[in-house]
């Protein structure tokens, strides 16, 4: 049962967006999020919506996968909308009991909701079209300059990719330990929250011990294979920009410029 958990939410298909360099997608996502806060008029939102819609179309990822990501933020979205709706001072529109909806409040609430929704859809578009592995690669390369200010960029990226490699192994192990404990009469299902949490102890202790043992073995195996940090290291699959990536940057620039233009002139 526990093995069915898939990591991340990568959606495998062949599309232009999938083939783009992960750096482009990272920059584009950040750019898109910034652009959402740059625009403040309906025209601007139409531009952002059109951009997002075209990207989704190009990615060939079914729209329902994007909506999935929205479920997680429904609560935050509701709270934001309610607060903005009732607590913004201005020209009253509707009043019932002690609550007043103002014209400004309505406007801000709708805008915030749209912003948040676009933000989530935009970033899940990135995670849906990029494997965790190449995301790590992209981040390592993008953050590269930070190593001059002593940020251990390579080490962090290496840790991330090792974590990704070991998640399925540790999940399988959890499953094994769980079954072993169930076979000896452990009960993970019944009882209240505290009881359930207590029942997890005999599961977590062996899991931690085994994880440490694995870490120790892996470190030794890496050293035996000449691993000595990021220095002097070459890449088997170096990231390289292709024509499509340059065009993507250009499109992104155009989009961003039009958002700024809308903000200034409209």
């Amino acid at each position: 049962m526990i093995r069915d958990i898939t990591l991340g939410q990568y959606y495998q298909t062949e599309s232009v967006i999938h083939k783009l360099d992960p750096r482009v997608k990272l920059v584009a996502t950040i750019g898109f999020i910034i652009s959402l806060f740059v625009v403040d008029s309906w025209v601007g939102y139409v531009v952002a919506a059109a951009f997002l819609a075209i990207m989704i179309q190009l990615s060939k990822v079914p729209f329902r996968f994007m909506v999935k990501g929205m479920k997680a933020i429904v609560m935050i979205l509701m709270i934001t909308v309610v607060f903005n709706l009732f607590l913004t001072p201005g020209e009253p529109l509707v009043t019932f009991w002690k609550l007043t909806i103002t014209k400004e409040g309505l406007r801000i609430a709708v805008m915030m909701a749209v912003r948040l929704a676009f933000l989530i859809v935009g970033s899940s578009l990135m995670t849906l079209t990029t494997t965790p592995n190449s995301l790590t690669d992209g981040m390592e390369k993008l953050m590269g300059p930070l190593k001059y200010v002593k940020v251990p960029v390579h080490e962090v990226a290496m840790m991330m990719s090792i974590a990704l490699r070991f998640i399925p192994i540790l999940l399988e192990e959890t499953d094994k330990i769980m079954k072993a404990q169930i076979a000896r009469g452990a009960d993970f299902e019944s009882g209240n929250l505290i009881k359930k949490a207590k029942a997890m102890v005999p599961l977590l202790v062996p899991l931690f011990i085994s994880a440490f043992r694995r870490a120790n073995d892996l470190a030794m195996a890496m050293e035996a294979r000449c691993y000595r940090g990021g220095e002097h290291r070459t890449k088997m699959k170096p990231l390289q920009y292709h024509a499509a990536d340059r065009i993507a940057y250009l499109i992104l620039l155009l989009y961003f410029a039009s958002c700024v233009a809308v903000r200034i002139w409209l």
Binding site: N133, D217, R225, Y227, M236
Partner: protein, 285 residues
């Protein structure tokens, strides 16, 4: 001097209590002298706790001797200037395949060693291809290691070491966690490396069947080398092996028992074919 040479190699594990006082010293390896020639297939046998894995870790400069010296290709393992040369010349394969595969795709894992050594990208690809072909895993290059069987994972680990172009490979119980089929796969791959590529192999194991093809066998007990010789010499000393709590292959044991009962057979029979030949020779006489 051979590719691997040890002189009175001694290693002690020091156990400490919570305050850091020495509680006891365990001598894991005790004055071991080894001399391995380039291109040899060496097997080191021993039951659990005999010090064979500790010995192996010295050849790759993961552990350093408490006393004595280890040379790999003429380089002293305690010389820090040669540390990375030694590690790229003496590759090591460990017991648990899951805990030594780093990449999320087979080919990436094989490329890990050459990447660390600073090999140019184009050459990494060539090395990955040739090493995966050498262990017969080339068609799995795009697979995730999690989806492979134990024997396949272990062959990927071996490919990862070959891609570093080592002069020798030390395999520390590579088959201990595998089923009989996986064991056969791995041993076949290791033998091919030794025969075809001429890589020196040091195989550490406690399965007797795996050492039949070795050029030299060392049997370890309590950190010391208890027996050494060719497989045939070792297997003719059945009683000594049993004293060291090692299982003798069934055929060898059968031949030994028959000989004890007065059947005229040569010493140290290793395979079923040999026994059959020897027995039918008797019948004819």
């Amino acid at each position: 001097m051979g590719i691997i040479k040890t002189d009175k190699l001694t290693f002690e594990y020091i156990r400490r209590d919570e305050e850091g006082n020495v509680e006891g010293i365990t001598r894991a390896v005790d004055e071991v002298d080894l001399d391995v020639k380039q291109g040899d297939f060496i097997a080191i046998l021993g039951h659990n706790g005999s010090g064979k894995s500790t010995l192996a870790k010295h050849i790759n400069a993961i552990l350093y001797p408490t006393e004595g010296t280890v040379w790999v290709d003429g380089m002293d393992t305690q010389d820090e200037n040669h540390l990375w040369d030694i590690r790229s010349e003496a590759g090591m394969v460990f017991q648990n395949p899951d805990n030594q595969i780093i990449g999320q795709v087979v080919e990436e894992d094989v490329g890990f060693g050459p990447e660390n050594m600073g090999v140019p990208t184009k050459e990494i690809w060539e090395r990955v291809e040739e090493s995966l072909k050498a262990v017969g895993m080339y068609e799995y290059r795009k697979h995730s290691p999690n989806k492979l069987s134990g024997g396949q994972k272990q062959r990927v680990s071996i490919a990862g070491v070959i891609a570093m172009h080592p002069k020798c490979i030390i395999l520390d119980e590579p088959t201990a966690m595998l089923d009989p089929n996986g064991r056969k796969e791995v041993i076949r791959a290791v033998r091919a490396l030794n025969d075809v590529e001429g890589i020196t192999v040091v195989l550490i194991t406690h399965y007797m069947e795996e050492i039949i093809h070795a050029d030299m066998v060392y049997v370890m007990d309590k950190g010391r080398i208890a027996m050494e010789g060719t497989p045939r010499e070792i297997f003719s000393r059945v009683e000594e092996l049993q004293d060291l709590r090692l299982d003798v292959p069934q055929v060898t044991l059968l031949a030994y028992e028959l000989k004890q009962r007065g059947v005229n057979l040569p010493d140290g029979i290793l395979t079923i074919e040999e026994l059959v030949a020897a027995l039918s020779g008797l019948k004819g006489a």
